[in-house]
């Protein structure tokens, strides 16, 4: 039986890495006595696949994993048993059964919605954001193992809006390419914007929260849970 599971990663666990999160979920599977299938071979691993790792330091209410079980288990009961076995901060929100032949989530997801809260934001942030987005190209420098690279991130910013401000915080909603073909880390985007608005030395403190990840659908986008057999 194959399921797509949506889960959240809260404040208390925002600093655990992707690998650590996987291990945590694998151990919770054993604590919850879930009949997860294992890979064959020399070092058998639970058959789980995680879509688009969340960078360390961010929170999310829209994480997804694929899981294959050896026997049938009602998705609601699965979530309930897992939630009893998970540490504070990681919570399964919903699971749906999907067809065994469905391509991997990783290959389906192509964008993600983020909520970014900027503390002590630049003045006139909405005007500056508009100007930032109206540039012909937005080039950032990326340091990779092969050296420095320059990337135009503009086509990967699918949407960016100011939602509003409260005291010293301003909230933004952005939609960025997030998939196996194109991927923009929201931290790079917000840093590029703040550097554009206030110069390279501007020290900002911000929180990034992933709201959801989306799959291209017939008319626009769909949520991964809509892949479910029943839905």
């Amino acid at each position: 039986m194959r399921m797509v599971v949506k889960y959240s990663k809260g404040k208390k666990v925002k600093y655990i890495s992707h690998l650590e999160l996987m291990r945590t979920i694998h151990r919770a599977l054993r604590r919850a006595d879930i009949p997860v299938a294992f890979s064959r071979g020399y070092n058998p691993q639970p058959k789980t696949a995680f879509a688009m790792p969340l960078p360390v330091g961010m929170t999310s209410e829209g994480e997804y994993m694929d899981i294959i079980l050896d026997s049938h288990l009602c998705p609601e009961i699965f979530c309930q048993r897992m939630n009893d076995a998970l540490p504070d901060g990681i919570m399964l929100l919903k699971a749906v059964e999907v067809g065994e032949s469905l391509p991997s989530l990783m290959s389906l997801i192509d964008r993600a919605v983020y909520l970014i809260t900027v503390h002590n934001p630049p003045k006139d942030i909405d005007i500056k954001l508009n100007r930032f987005l109206q540039q012909n190209e937005i080039v950032i420098k990326k340091d990779s193992k092969r050296g420095e690279r320059f990337v135009n991130i503009k086509p990967m910013i699918l949407k960016a809006d100011i939602l509003g401000s409260q005291e010293t915080d301003t909230a933004m909603e952005v939609v960025l390419s997030t998939g196996s073909r194109e991927y923009l880390n929201p931290e790079h985007m917000i840093k590029a914007f703040l550097a554009y608005a206030e110069g390279d030395d501007f020290e900002a403190y911000f929180n990034i929260h992933r709201v959801d990840m989306l799959i291209p659908g017939n008319d626009g986008c769909m949520a991964p849970l809509e892949l479910g057999k029943g839905g």
């Binding site: 890495s17 291990r23 945590t24 058998p44 540490p87």
Partner: protein
């Protein structure tokens, strides 16, 4: 505590998960609702401290008490310390983020001499006065335990209390006494006086040390009435009934020993003469296979760990080992829980065993002949032969292993060039053994790592009187081995002799070294066991500034009559036994495993005799 402030700096340091807490099975209580807040402090980073079994036991044991909340604190790594100091964030406990300065106790476990500067640094980061004399009303009591606590004299100026021996029982007695004292609101000295009445509790401030003109110790005497002149260590009588946690914290990060640890027994009957653990953890007490299986079941259920390891000083000596391994495999293999067996003796290495191990994982194997010749192995009472080693590696190679590690010590008492040559010869023989088996075919895959540590004479061992080789001599010996081990397929690893030298200084140090620790800490020394932090020249400056010669402690043979800095501690095994063993060592005489015959080490005097 301003958790937001901590959260903010966590975004700026490496491995923030070290400081985060909130792991599965972490104990949650309200610190303001308990009478006693206890900070269990490990003077090294999280992934090292969390691997330590004693901490797991005591953390959960203390938290069984309704009146006490035990929280954890580790040494922040250098980057975190800097951020904490910049942002004026004092040392805080992982569970709640509360500053430990407001706790009733901060309890350090002393596993390693070179963590002493971290103890001082952690006190400083906490904002607790470093010296016990400077602490007063409202300050926590600084307490220590663990193997190095048997000679904690170099830390005597910093510690209010020291616990000798196994902590499971004495910690509860101490907390009971504290609870009484706290309710009465008496003064600090009064609590220490009460604590001194508990067996196994040592109050460094209640003893005075006098010195002779030559710098040796004249006497160590209590300076007030009602204090025992000799402090005797604590032993848990019945390990079968002793507390063992059935749920352990499951860290997020990959810690050093990231698995369920099952302690199969305490103590060791082999009597290797260099080994402090083999002396101080006596007598041998086992847990039954059925108790261990019950614990394993509970721990797998409560932690979800994928691996269990059996732990003890010499697991192959466990009397029910075969039975236990079989039960493990039967019950857990299908659930994909594997098991690991560390520290096997090479004379016990049966084919069945290796095959069982192979089912699970095919990592490298480590063998510890400890010395290069039979003569020297007899001196240290290791009791294994070259034949044992060759048999074991042959079996391993036959079963498909290509990677073996050979572990030796250099600088052992009576060592000669022949003994060093013996190390090279053994490595060559192991290689030959592989080549013969594989007729040279797969020779490229063979990897033999020869690793040498430098012998550090430890208190409470038969070698507590001997001089350590000088740094120069150890370096020469390593150079000799580097040449000798230029063999295809063999790599040579060695320990920094300067670090071994300082270990030797502090292992057998006395109270005068407190000054050196403080001076070294002022010069930035911390995490001395970490190569990237170890600053030998700063240490040498610290010795100079304190007017203390480190060679006096490391490189000087002690006279039989000399009063050693730990003369007022009774760790069970008698000095007379240690001396007999030392003399036998010099004659190259073996002392067989004491499970067969008692050699009168003295441990059976304690608790009315607990030897099996």
């Amino acid at each position: 505590m301003d958790k937001a402030k901590i959260d903010r700096i966590l975004g700026q340091v490496g491995k923030p998960v070290r400081y985060m807490g909130n792991e599965y099975n972490m104990v949650v209580k309200d610190p303001s609702e308990v009478l006693i807040n206890f900070a269990f402090a490990f003077p090294d980073v999280y992934e090292v401290g969390m691997s330590h079994l004693g901490m797991k036991i005591l953390y959960h044991l203390i938290n069984e008490r309704e009146d006490t909340y035990c929280q954890r604190v580790f040494a922040p790594w250098v980057d975190m310390e800097q951020k904490m100091r910049e942002n004026r964030i004092p040392l805080f406990a992982l569970e709640t983020g509360e500053p430990v300065a407001g706790f009733d106790f901060i309890g350090f476990t002393l596993q390693y001499e070179m963590s002493y500067t971290n103890v001082i640094n952690m006190l400083d980061l906490a904002g607790i006065p470093l010296m016990r004399r400077e602490r007063g009303k409202g300050h926590p009591f600084v307490i220590a335990g663990g193997p190095c606590a048997y000679n904690a004299e170099p830390l005597a100026d910093f510690l209010d209390l020291v616990v000798m021996g196994e902590g499971e029982e004495v910690i509860n007695q101490l907390l009971d006494e504290y609870a009484e004292w706290k309710k009465q609101g008496a003064d600090r000295q009064d609590f220490l006086a009460r604590a001194a009445g508990i067996k196994g509790v040592y109050i460094p401030g209640f003893y005075d040390v006098d010195y002779n003109h030559d710098g040796t110790i004249c006497s160590v005497k209590p300076n007030r009435p009602g204090v025992p002149s000799v402090v005797q260590k604590r032993i848990v009588r019945d390990l079968e009934k002793a507390y063992y946690p059935e749920a352990m914290i499951v860290p997020y990060m990959n810690i050093v020993h990231d698995r369920i640890t099952l302690e199969v027994f305490r103590g060791c009957t082999r009597g290797c003469r260099f080994c402090q653990a083999g002396m101080i953890y006596r007598p041998v007490r086992e847990r039954s296979a059925s108790r261990l299986m019950d614990l394993a079941r509970e721990l797998v259920k409560n932690t979800g760990y994928e691996e269990i390891s059996l732990s003890s000083l010499s697991t192959s000596d466990y009397s029910q080992l075969e039975e236990l391994v079989k039960q493990f495999m039967d019950e857990f293999q299908s659930r994909r829980v594997s098991f690991a067996l560390p520290s096997l003796r090479i004379d016990s290495f049966t084919r069945e065993f290796i095959e069982e191990m192979k089912k699970v994982r095919k990592a490298g194997l480590t063998f510890a002949p400890e010395a290069g010749t039979q003569r020297l192995r007899d001196v240290i009472n290791k009791g294994v032969t070259e034949e044992d080693l060759i048999n074991s590696v042959t079996q391993a190679f036959e079963l498909g292993w290509d990677t073996v590690k050979l572990y030796f010590m250099i600088g052992l008492p009576t060592e000669t060039e022949q003994d060093l040559e013996g190390i090279g010869d053994l490595a060559a023989k192991v290689r030959e053994c592989y080549m013969n088996l594989n007729r040279g075919r797969k020779s490229r895959r063979l990897k033999i790592t020869v690793s040498t540590s430098s012998f550090v004479p430890k208190p409470f061992t038969p070698f507590q009187w001997v001089a350590q080789d000088s740094v120069e001599l150890l370096a020469q010996k390593q150079e000799f081995l580097r040449e000798k081990l230029r063999i295809k397929g063999v790599t040579y690893d060695w320990h920094d002799p300067e670090l071994s030298f300082l270990e030797a200084v502090f292992a057998r140090g006395d109270r005068r070294l407190g000054k050196v620790l403080l001076e070294a800490w002022k010069r930035g020394c911390k995490f001395d066991g970490w190569a990237e932090c170890f600053n030998y020249s700063a240490w040498l400056e610290a010795f100079r500034a304190s007017g203390i010669e480190p060679e006096f402690y490391a490189n000087r043979p002690r006279d039989k009559e000399e009063v050693l800095p730990w003369a007022h501690i009774d760790m069970g095994v008698t000095t007379a036994f240690l001396r007999r063993e030392y003399e036998k060592a010099l004659r190259g005489e073996l002392t067989p495993d004491c499970r067969g015959v008692c050699h009168g080490c003295g441990i059976n005097r304690l608790e009315g005799g607990l030897c099996p």
